[in-house]
Symmetry: C2
Subunit: 183 residues, 2 copies
Protein backbone atom coordinates (compact mmCIF):
# COMPACT_ATOMS: atom_id res chain seq x y z
CA UNK A 1 0.00 0.00 0.00
CA UNK A 2 1.52 3.32 -1.08
CA UNK A 3 0.78 6.78 0.28
CA UNK A 4 -1.08 7.75 -2.92
CA UNK A 5 -3.36 4.70 -2.63
CA UNK A 6 -3.98 5.36 1.07
CA UNK A 7 -5.09 8.92 0.30
CA UNK A 8 -7.37 7.76 -2.51
CA UNK A 9 -8.98 5.05 -0.35
CA UNK A 10 -9.47 7.46 2.56
CA UNK A 11 -11.25 9.95 0.28
CA UNK A 12 -13.26 7.13 -1.29
CA UNK A 13 -14.55 5.90 2.08
CA UNK A 14 -15.92 9.37 2.89
CA UNK A 15 -17.30 9.76 -0.65
CA UNK A 16 -19.36 6.58 -0.34
CA UNK A 17 -20.42 7.14 3.29
CA UNK A 18 -21.70 10.65 2.48
CA UNK A 19 -23.60 9.22 -0.53
CA UNK A 20 -21.87 11.73 -2.83
CA UNK A 21 -22.55 9.24 -5.65
CA UNK A 22 -26.28 9.92 -5.70
CA UNK A 23 -26.03 12.75 -8.24
CA UNK A 24 -24.15 10.50 -10.66
CA UNK A 25 -26.58 7.56 -10.75
CA UNK A 26 -27.31 6.44 -14.32
CA UNK A 27 -27.28 3.33 -16.54
CA UNK A 28 -24.58 1.78 -18.70
CA UNK A 29 -26.38 2.86 -21.91
CA UNK A 30 -25.10 6.21 -23.25
CA UNK A 31 -28.03 8.65 -23.28
CA UNK A 32 -26.53 10.73 -26.12
CA UNK A 33 -25.62 7.61 -28.17
CA UNK A 34 -22.12 8.97 -28.71
CA UNK A 35 -18.67 7.37 -28.30
CA UNK A 36 -15.61 9.61 -28.02
CA UNK A 37 -12.00 8.74 -28.74
CA UNK A 38 -9.65 11.28 -27.20
CA UNK A 39 -6.31 11.73 -25.45
CA UNK A 40 -5.21 10.71 -21.93
CA UNK A 41 -3.94 14.29 -21.37
CA UNK A 42 -4.35 15.52 -17.76
CA UNK A 43 -5.87 18.77 -18.95
CA UNK A 44 -8.87 16.96 -20.47
CA UNK A 45 -10.03 14.95 -17.40
CA UNK A 46 -12.65 17.49 -16.33
CA UNK A 47 -12.31 20.04 -19.15
CA UNK A 48 -13.46 17.78 -22.01
CA UNK A 49 -16.80 16.72 -20.44
CA UNK A 50 -17.45 20.31 -19.29
CA UNK A 51 -16.61 21.85 -22.67
CA UNK A 52 -18.91 19.39 -24.49
CA UNK A 53 -21.69 19.44 -21.87
CA UNK A 54 -21.31 15.73 -21.09
CA UNK A 55 -22.65 14.35 -17.82
CA UNK A 56 -22.29 10.95 -16.24
CA UNK A 57 -24.25 8.47 -18.39
CA UNK A 58 -24.14 10.52 -21.62
CA UNK A 59 -21.32 8.94 -23.65
CA UNK A 60 -18.66 6.24 -23.82
CA UNK A 61 -15.14 7.67 -23.54
CA UNK A 62 -12.10 5.89 -24.94
CA UNK A 63 -8.69 7.42 -24.24
CA UNK A 64 -5.04 6.76 -24.95
CA UNK A 65 -1.89 8.76 -25.68
CA UNK A 66 -2.83 10.90 -28.68
CA UNK A 67 -6.33 9.47 -29.17
CA UNK A 68 -5.08 7.14 -31.89
CA UNK A 69 -5.90 3.70 -33.28
CA UNK A 70 -2.82 1.49 -33.40
CA UNK A 71 -4.43 -1.54 -35.01
CA UNK A 72 -7.73 -2.05 -36.90
CA UNK A 73 -8.41 -5.06 -34.65
CA UNK A 74 -7.02 -3.69 -31.37
CA UNK A 75 -8.71 -2.52 -28.17
CA UNK A 76 -9.96 0.84 -29.48
CA UNK A 77 -11.81 -0.62 -32.45
CA UNK A 78 -13.19 -3.40 -30.24
CA UNK A 79 -14.49 -0.68 -27.92
CA UNK A 80 -16.38 0.85 -30.86
CA UNK A 81 -17.83 -2.58 -31.73
CA UNK A 82 -19.21 -2.97 -28.19
CA UNK A 83 -20.40 0.66 -28.16
CA UNK A 84 -22.26 0.34 -31.48
CA UNK A 85 -23.62 -3.20 -31.43
CA UNK A 86 -24.25 -3.66 -27.70
CA UNK A 87 -24.91 -0.16 -26.39
CA UNK A 88 -26.64 1.71 -29.22
CA UNK A 89 -23.96 4.27 -30.13
CA UNK A 90 -24.82 6.12 -33.38
CA UNK A 91 -22.04 8.70 -33.65
CA UNK A 92 -18.30 8.67 -33.03
CA UNK A 93 -16.20 11.75 -32.23
CA UNK A 94 -12.42 11.65 -32.58
CA UNK A 95 -11.04 14.58 -30.56
CA UNK A 96 -7.37 15.50 -30.82
CA UNK A 97 -5.78 18.47 -29.09
CA UNK A 98 -3.09 21.06 -29.66
CA UNK A 99 0.16 20.73 -27.65
CA UNK A 100 -0.18 16.91 -27.49
CA UNK A 101 2.67 14.84 -26.05
CA UNK A 102 2.37 12.47 -29.00
CA UNK A 103 3.22 15.26 -31.43
CA UNK A 104 6.89 15.13 -32.29
CA UNK A 105 7.65 12.36 -29.79
CA UNK A 106 11.39 11.64 -29.94
CA UNK A 107 11.94 7.86 -29.89
CA UNK A 108 15.68 8.07 -29.30
CA UNK A 109 15.19 10.28 -26.23
CA UNK A 110 12.68 7.83 -24.74
CA UNK A 111 15.21 5.02 -25.33
CA UNK A 112 17.86 7.04 -23.46
CA UNK A 113 15.45 7.54 -20.56
CA UNK A 114 14.72 3.79 -20.50
CA UNK A 115 18.41 2.99 -20.19
CA UNK A 116 18.72 5.59 -17.40
CA UNK A 117 15.88 3.79 -15.56
CA UNK A 118 17.83 0.49 -15.71
CA UNK A 119 16.14 -1.11 -18.72
CA UNK A 120 18.98 -3.10 -20.31
CA UNK A 121 20.16 -2.49 -23.87
CA UNK A 122 20.07 -6.29 -24.25
CA UNK A 123 16.31 -6.33 -23.42
CA UNK A 124 15.67 -3.73 -26.11
CA UNK A 125 17.62 -5.83 -28.62
CA UNK A 126 15.65 -8.97 -27.72
CA UNK A 127 12.36 -7.07 -28.23
CA UNK A 128 13.53 -5.87 -31.63
CA UNK A 129 14.57 -9.40 -32.57
CA UNK A 130 11.00 -10.56 -31.80
CA UNK A 131 9.86 -8.42 -34.75
CA UNK A 132 8.59 -5.48 -32.66
CA UNK A 133 9.37 -2.18 -34.41
CA UNK A 134 10.01 -0.03 -31.31
CA UNK A 135 10.79 3.10 -33.33
CA UNK A 136 7.47 2.90 -35.15
CA UNK A 137 5.61 2.03 -31.91
CA UNK A 138 6.97 5.07 -30.05
CA UNK A 139 6.92 7.44 -33.00
CA UNK A 140 3.85 9.57 -32.28
CA UNK A 141 2.58 11.89 -35.01
CA UNK A 142 3.83 15.00 -36.80
CA UNK A 143 0.59 16.93 -36.89
CA UNK A 144 -2.57 16.46 -34.80
CA UNK A 145 -5.01 17.51 -37.53
CA UNK A 146 -3.58 14.95 -39.97
CA UNK A 147 -3.64 12.32 -37.22
CA UNK A 148 -7.32 12.95 -36.39
CA UNK A 149 -8.33 12.90 -40.07
CA UNK A 150 -6.45 9.66 -40.60
CA UNK A 151 -8.17 8.09 -37.55
CA UNK A 152 -11.58 9.24 -38.76
CA UNK A 153 -10.84 7.64 -42.15
CA UNK A 154 -9.75 4.42 -40.48
CA UNK A 155 -13.05 4.20 -38.57
CA UNK A 156 -15.25 5.14 -41.56
CA UNK A 157 -13.51 2.58 -43.77
CA UNK A 158 -13.40 -0.21 -41.19
CA UNK A 159 -15.20 -3.25 -42.65
CA UNK A 160 -17.22 -3.88 -39.45
CA UNK A 161 -18.46 -0.31 -38.85
CA UNK A 162 -22.04 0.09 -40.17
CA UNK A 163 -22.45 2.75 -42.88
CA UNK A 164 -25.04 4.71 -40.90
CA UNK A 165 -22.63 5.49 -38.04
CA UNK A 166 -21.52 9.14 -38.32
CA UNK A 167 -17.84 9.81 -37.59
CA UNK A 168 -16.54 13.33 -36.87
CA UNK A 169 -13.05 14.70 -36.33
CA UNK A 170 -12.52 17.62 -33.93
CA UNK A 171 -9.70 19.50 -32.25
CA UNK A 172 -9.92 20.82 -28.71
CA UNK A 173 -7.85 23.57 -27.14
CA UNK A 174 -6.45 21.99 -23.92
CA UNK A 175 -6.63 25.33 -22.10
CA UNK A 176 -9.95 26.86 -23.16
CA UNK A 177 -11.76 23.72 -24.32
CA UNK A 178 -12.66 25.46 -27.62
CA UNK A 179 -13.66 22.95 -30.30
CA UNK A 180 -12.93 23.06 -34.03
CA UNK A 181 -14.86 20.69 -36.30
CA UNK A 182 -12.64 19.30 -39.05
CA UNK A 183 -14.07 19.15 -42.56
CA UNK B 1 -23.16 18.41 -39.52
CA UNK B 2 -25.52 16.35 -37.35
CA UNK B 3 -27.92 17.60 -34.67
CA UNK B 4 -25.73 16.14 -31.91
CA UNK B 5 -22.65 18.01 -33.19
CA UNK B 6 -24.65 21.25 -33.57
CA UNK B 7 -25.75 21.04 -29.93
CA UNK B 8 -22.22 20.31 -28.73
CA UNK B 9 -20.73 23.21 -30.71
CA UNK B 10 -23.45 25.62 -29.53
CA UNK B 11 -22.72 24.71 -25.88
CA UNK B 12 -18.98 24.93 -26.53
CA UNK B 13 -19.24 28.47 -27.94
CA UNK B 14 -20.97 29.66 -24.76
CA UNK B 15 -18.54 27.70 -22.55
CA UNK B 16 -15.53 29.45 -24.09
CA UNK B 17 -17.17 32.91 -24.28
CA UNK B 18 -18.11 32.77 -20.59
CA UNK B 19 -14.54 31.68 -19.76
CA UNK B 20 -15.89 28.62 -17.90
CA UNK B 21 -12.50 27.02 -18.60
CA UNK B 22 -10.67 29.20 -16.08
CA UNK B 23 -11.22 26.83 -13.17
CA UNK B 24 -9.69 23.94 -15.13
CA UNK B 25 -6.41 25.59 -16.13
CA UNK B 26 -3.42 23.34 -15.45
CA UNK B 27 -0.38 21.81 -17.21
CA UNK B 28 0.12 18.58 -19.12
CA UNK B 29 2.20 17.08 -16.29
CA UNK B 30 0.09 14.96 -13.89
CA UNK B 31 0.35 16.53 -10.41
CA UNK B 32 -0.32 13.22 -8.64
CA UNK B 33 2.12 11.30 -10.90
CA UNK B 34 -0.51 8.63 -11.49
CA UNK B 35 -1.78 6.97 -14.68
CA UNK B 36 -5.11 5.13 -14.61
CA UNK B 37 -6.35 2.42 -16.96
CA UNK B 38 -10.11 1.99 -16.69
CA UNK B 39 -13.27 1.28 -18.66
CA UNK B 40 -15.14 3.45 -21.19
CA UNK B 41 -18.38 2.83 -19.22
CA UNK B 42 -20.77 5.83 -19.23
CA UNK B 43 -21.23 5.56 -15.48
CA UNK B 44 -17.56 6.34 -14.84
CA UNK B 45 -17.26 9.63 -16.80
CA UNK B 46 -17.82 11.88 -13.79
CA UNK B 47 -18.10 9.25 -11.04
CA UNK B 48 -14.53 7.88 -11.28
CA UNK B 49 -12.73 11.25 -10.89
CA UNK B 50 -15.14 12.26 -8.10
CA UNK B 51 -14.81 8.96 -6.22
CA UNK B 52 -11.00 9.15 -6.34
CA UNK B 53 -10.74 12.89 -5.71
CA UNK B 54 -9.11 13.58 -9.09
CA UNK B 55 -9.18 17.07 -10.55
CA UNK B 56 -8.14 18.37 -13.92
CA UNK B 57 -4.35 18.08 -14.14
CA UNK B 58 -3.97 15.32 -11.52
CA UNK B 59 -3.62 12.12 -13.59
CA UNK B 60 -3.43 10.57 -17.05
CA UNK B 61 -6.55 8.52 -17.84
CA UNK B 62 -6.53 5.71 -20.39
CA UNK B 63 -9.86 4.04 -21.20
CA UNK B 64 -11.24 1.31 -23.40
CA UNK B 65 -13.95 -1.36 -23.24
CA UNK B 66 -13.14 -3.31 -20.09
CA UNK B 67 -9.92 -1.45 -19.22
CA UNK B 68 -7.82 -4.15 -20.82
CA UNK B 69 -4.50 -4.46 -22.64
CA UNK B 70 -4.89 -6.27 -25.96
CA UNK B 71 -1.25 -6.30 -26.96
CA UNK B 72 2.01 -5.72 -25.03
CA UNK B 73 3.07 -3.29 -27.77
CA UNK B 74 -0.31 -1.68 -28.48
CA UNK B 75 -1.71 1.78 -27.74
CA UNK B 76 -2.33 1.24 -23.99
CA UNK B 77 1.21 0.13 -23.21
CA UNK B 78 2.57 2.96 -25.40
CA UNK B 79 0.46 5.35 -23.33
CA UNK B 80 2.19 4.07 -20.17
CA UNK B 81 5.59 4.57 -21.83
CA UNK B 82 4.79 8.22 -22.57
CA UNK B 83 3.26 8.68 -19.10
CA UNK B 84 6.30 7.23 -17.30
CA UNK B 85 9.25 8.40 -19.39
CA UNK B 86 7.94 11.76 -20.64
CA UNK B 87 5.49 12.89 -17.97
CA UNK B 88 6.87 11.58 -14.68
CA UNK B 89 4.21 9.01 -13.76
CA UNK B 90 5.30 6.83 -10.79
CA UNK B 91 2.21 4.71 -10.14
CA UNK B 92 -0.33 2.91 -12.31
CA UNK B 93 -3.87 2.01 -11.25
CA UNK B 94 -5.87 -0.58 -13.20
CA UNK B 95 -9.54 -0.07 -12.28
CA UNK B 96 -12.13 -2.59 -13.41
CA UNK B 97 -15.79 -2.45 -12.44
CA UNK B 98 -18.66 -4.76 -11.64
CA UNK B 99 -21.45 -5.12 -14.26
CA UNK B 100 -19.01 -4.48 -17.13
CA UNK B 101 -20.19 -4.93 -20.73
CA UNK B 102 -17.01 -6.88 -21.47
CA UNK B 103 -17.95 -9.54 -18.93
CA UNK B 104 -19.59 -12.45 -20.69
CA UNK B 105 -19.66 -10.72 -24.07
CA UNK B 106 -21.36 -13.07 -26.57
CA UNK B 107 -19.40 -13.07 -29.84
CA UNK B 108 -22.06 -14.90 -31.83
CA UNK B 109 -24.74 -12.37 -30.83
CA UNK B 110 -22.52 -9.46 -31.94
CA UNK B 111 -21.99 -11.23 -35.28
CA UNK B 112 -25.77 -11.56 -35.69
CA UNK B 113 -26.16 -7.84 -34.99
CA UNK B 114 -23.45 -7.04 -37.56
CA UNK B 115 -25.33 -8.99 -40.24
CA UNK B 116 -28.56 -7.20 -39.27
CA UNK B 117 -26.73 -3.87 -39.80
CA UNK B 118 -25.79 -4.92 -43.37
CA UNK B 119 -22.24 -6.12 -42.76
CA UNK B 120 -21.87 -8.94 -45.30
CA UNK B 121 -21.06 -12.51 -44.26
CA UNK B 122 -18.51 -12.44 -47.09
CA UNK B 123 -16.70 -9.51 -45.41
CA UNK B 124 -16.48 -11.44 -42.14
CA UNK B 125 -15.06 -14.43 -44.01
CA UNK B 126 -12.42 -12.26 -45.73
CA UNK B 127 -11.36 -10.81 -42.36
CA UNK B 128 -11.02 -14.31 -40.92
CA UNK B 129 -8.98 -15.40 -43.94
CA UNK B 130 -6.56 -12.51 -43.21
CA UNK B 131 -5.65 -14.31 -39.98
CA UNK B 132 -7.80 -12.12 -37.69
CA UNK B 133 -9.36 -14.23 -34.91
CA UNK B 134 -12.67 -12.35 -34.57
CA UNK B 135 -13.98 -14.68 -31.86
CA UNK B 136 -10.95 -14.07 -29.67
CA UNK B 137 -11.01 -10.32 -30.44
CA UNK B 138 -14.64 -9.93 -29.37
CA UNK B 139 -14.53 -12.41 -26.51
CA UNK B 140 -14.38 -10.13 -23.46
CA UNK B 141 -13.63 -11.68 -20.07
CA UNK B 142 -15.35 -14.11 -17.70
CA UNK B 143 -14.55 -12.35 -14.45
CA UNK B 144 -13.48 -8.74 -13.85
CA UNK B 145 -11.25 -9.48 -10.85
CA UNK B 146 -9.25 -12.07 -12.82
CA UNK B 147 -9.04 -9.65 -15.74
CA UNK B 148 -7.68 -6.80 -13.60
CA UNK B 149 -5.13 -9.06 -11.91
CA UNK B 150 -3.98 -10.38 -15.28
CA UNK B 151 -3.61 -6.80 -16.60
CA UNK B 152 -1.64 -5.75 -13.50
CA UNK B 153 0.68 -8.74 -14.06
CA UNK B 154 1.10 -7.83 -17.72
CA UNK B 155 2.21 -4.30 -16.77
CA UNK B 156 4.50 -5.38 -13.91
CA UNK B 157 6.19 -7.97 -16.11
CA UNK B 158 6.49 -5.77 -19.20
CA UNK B 159 10.18 -5.57 -20.18
CA UNK B 160 10.07 -1.77 -20.66
CA UNK B 161 8.31 -0.84 -17.39
CA UNK B 162 10.89 0.29 -14.77
CA UNK B 163 10.91 -1.81 -11.60
CA UNK B 164 10.21 1.17 -9.33
CA UNK B 165 6.82 1.89 -10.92
CA UNK B 166 4.07 0.69 -8.53
CA UNK B 167 1.10 -1.05 -10.18
CA UNK B 168 -2.19 -1.57 -8.32
CA UNK B 169 -5.40 -3.37 -9.25
CA UNK B 170 -8.74 -2.05 -8.01
CA UNK B 171 -12.44 -2.63 -8.55
CA UNK B 172 -14.99 0.21 -8.55
CA UNK B 173 -18.72 -0.06 -7.99
CA UNK B 174 -20.26 1.74 -11.02
CA UNK B 175 -23.14 3.03 -8.90
CA UNK B 176 -21.57 4.11 -5.60
CA UNK B 177 -17.96 4.56 -6.73
CA UNK B 178 -16.78 2.36 -3.82
CA UNK B 179 -13.23 1.07 -4.40
CA UNK B 180 -11.77 -2.31 -3.48
CA UNK B 181 -8.01 -2.74 -3.58
CA UNK B 182 -7.03 -6.15 -4.94
CA UNK B 183 -4.25 -8.04 -3.17
Amino acid sequence: MTEKIEQILAHNKKFVESKCYEKYLTTRFPTKKIAILSCMDTRLTELLPAALNLRNGDVKIIKNAGGVISHPFGSVMRSFMVAIYELGVEEILVIGHYDCGMQGLDTSKIMEKMLARHIKQETIEVIRSCGIDLDLWLKGFDDVETSVKSTVGMIKNHPLIPEDVAVHGLLIDPETGALTLLA
